[in-house]
Amino acid sequence: MGAIDLNTTALSAGTGARQYVADVLVLGGGPAGTWAAISAAARLGSGGRVLLADKGYCGTSGATAPSGTGVWYVEPTAKARGDAKQSRAALGGHLADEAWMDRVLEQTYANVQQLAEWGYPFPLDDNGEQRRGSLQGPEYMRLMRKRAKEAGVKILDHSPALELLVDHEGRVAGATGLHRQKNEAWVVRAGAVVIATGGCAFLSKALGTNVLTGDGHLMAAEAGAELSGMEFSNAYGLGPAFASVTKSLFYNWATFLYGDGSPIPGAASQRGRGVIARTLLQQPVYAIIDRADAATRRWMRGAQPNFFLPFDRAGIDPFTQKFPVTLRLEGTVRGTGGLRIHDNSCATSVEGLYAAGDAATRELICGGFTGGGSHNAAWAMSSGFWAGAGAGDHAHSLGRSLAQRPLLRAGGAGLQDGGGTAIDPAQTIAAVQREVLPYERNYFRRGEALHESLRALDALWLRLRGAAAAAPEHALRSREAAALIAMSRWMYRSALARTESRGMHKREDFQGQDNAQRHYLLSGGLDQVWVKSAPGPAPLRAPAPPAALDTQGAGA
């Protein structure tokens, strides 16, 4: 791979654009991006130039900042680490890779230690010991922004990237984008680029996810990068129907009810979320968190203050009053599909391009299962740390003469003139959502419906490719629309190719797990989407616990 999928156009002198030169450019300022930037700066040493461009504001952008997250922080004993690796092996369909789990556990432990040294206020237990298994989003990301700045990283807020730049050998060498609040274009020439733009939740308004539209995946694929695990892209978050807060931990203490107040048999947050989805297809579902005692209720308030905001503001006591719930698509934010990782430095298949966090496939540690917040947070900080170092080393190896190399624009759909009339991004986005949000299409998948959706999505792609380039004020939305279409097509083509149910991928027409399909599904391409299998990982050394029935929702 590495071939460029689109006809590229030369980057002109960049008239009217703000110009930057960096050793490493990090796209995305969530946990993965900030860890990558800090790691790259450390690797490059004094004189290193690291730029971080965030679509929104580094510190509030993405799914972590407005939330809180568990961390896969496990004491370095053989027993604890062995149990941790096995705990979700079956849920993930035995697609997690033990060597990667080992190194993520190791790196996460070190990084969390680092957070403690930086002054993150971890809570103390009754013995006066710090408990480091969870992070409060606002506090964590405010600290990460501060540490990135102290490391010398230059942060560009409200500066979404629109496309990658490549050199004549196909190596990634920068990006272009917009300073949204200044109505100004930017061009960054860089030795290496880290994609840390998060997953894709298809603008569902699940908490903190609306900046996460797959922009980085699109840009990377345009430069020739591969994806993996895109069938594991249909995580749905549980929350009040009247709110954005898809935090599901406390629903372990909930009872789920029909409108008449009678309990719904088999409905649960863990291992019963499918029942909730099926019931929601027919009628409203209610919950009441009636199984938490007084102490547990107090702990809940301290653990996730944001969980209670919607209830307090709607005047509902969730412990004593039933409230309607819904499932919002969290796509690959909690799902595990993303850019394929080729080596321990988190390089993609394209030279000069690295991927980290939710933008990169998390199958390596979760297989086909969400992993809840804890694995996701661990993956973000570990893969970010490695990608930043890898990108720093790559930039260093190129030397600075390459700052002057001629560059090509890799961006296609929405940026290049296809000859037709321009599309309406809002209509296009709504059309994608009609195919990917409904439970009957994406939670419960069927070959026939997947084909039908793909016909609609392929047509949307062709329409966009044949459209005029977006006017500058619509460029960002048009690229988001392009990214959502591309993501949905990789997702459903992969879902069609996996003719079994494994991890979160549920096929109504292939309900069992097929041992012959314990492999990864790679995907890529834009005008022509392709899917192919690659060997799965070696089995875990120790026996795994028994398989569970429903794999949505555990630990989220």
């Binding site: 679509k55 929104g56 504001y57 510190g59 509030t60 952008s61 993405g62 900042a65 407005p66 809180g68 568990g70 993150y120 206020p121 971890f122 809570p123 103390l124 237990d125 408990r131 298994g133 969870s134 992070l135 409060q136 606002p138 506090e139 807020d157 409200h158 949204r180 609040q181 308004k205 908490l207 903190g208 996810t209 609306n210 900046v211 009040p240 009247f242 709110a243 954005s244 807060v245 931990l249 406390f250 372990n252 102490a295 547990t296 107090r298 702990w299 809940m300 308030r301 301290g302 653990a303 996730q304 203050p305 944001n306 209670f308 905001l309 919607p310 307090d312 503001r313 709607a314």
Partner: protein, 109 residues
């Protein structure tokens, strides 16, 4: 979605314009920012967390605009409630130190 920029409380510091991850506000010279793109609000409450004057209010409904009355919000102590809950109000300790998640995780193991 974001429903209120209180002109009585706002000092036009424009922090919300900078920190909103979905670029919902527009700064206005010498005046409070305006909610320019309400439909882009993802209801993440981050603007409230960063507002030093407790001048903002995000209604929980992410998809529909709702009407709010500032005097009622102030009377029910909902203005600034998120900032107080996470310990970011002036003079409060960070609430991260009282993160009881570990107690809860022990219960569901």
């Amino acid at each position: 979605m974001i429903e209120l920029v209180s002109s009585a409380r706002c000092t036009a510091c424009n922090i919300c314009v900078h920190v909103c991850p979905t670029n919902v506000f527009d700064a206005v010279a010498g005046a409070p920012p305006v909610i320019a793109r309400q439909a882009d609000c993802q209801t993440c409450y981050m603007c409230e967390a960063y507002c030093p004057e407790d001048a903002l209010f995000v209604a929980p409904q992410p998809d529909d605009a709702v009407s709010v009355a500032e005097d009622k919000l102030a009377a029910s102590a909902l203005l600034g409630s998120y900032r107080r809950e996470i310990g970011w109000s002036a003079g409060l300790p960070s609430r991260a130190a009282s993160d009881h998640t570990f107690h809860l995780m022990a219960l569901i193991k």
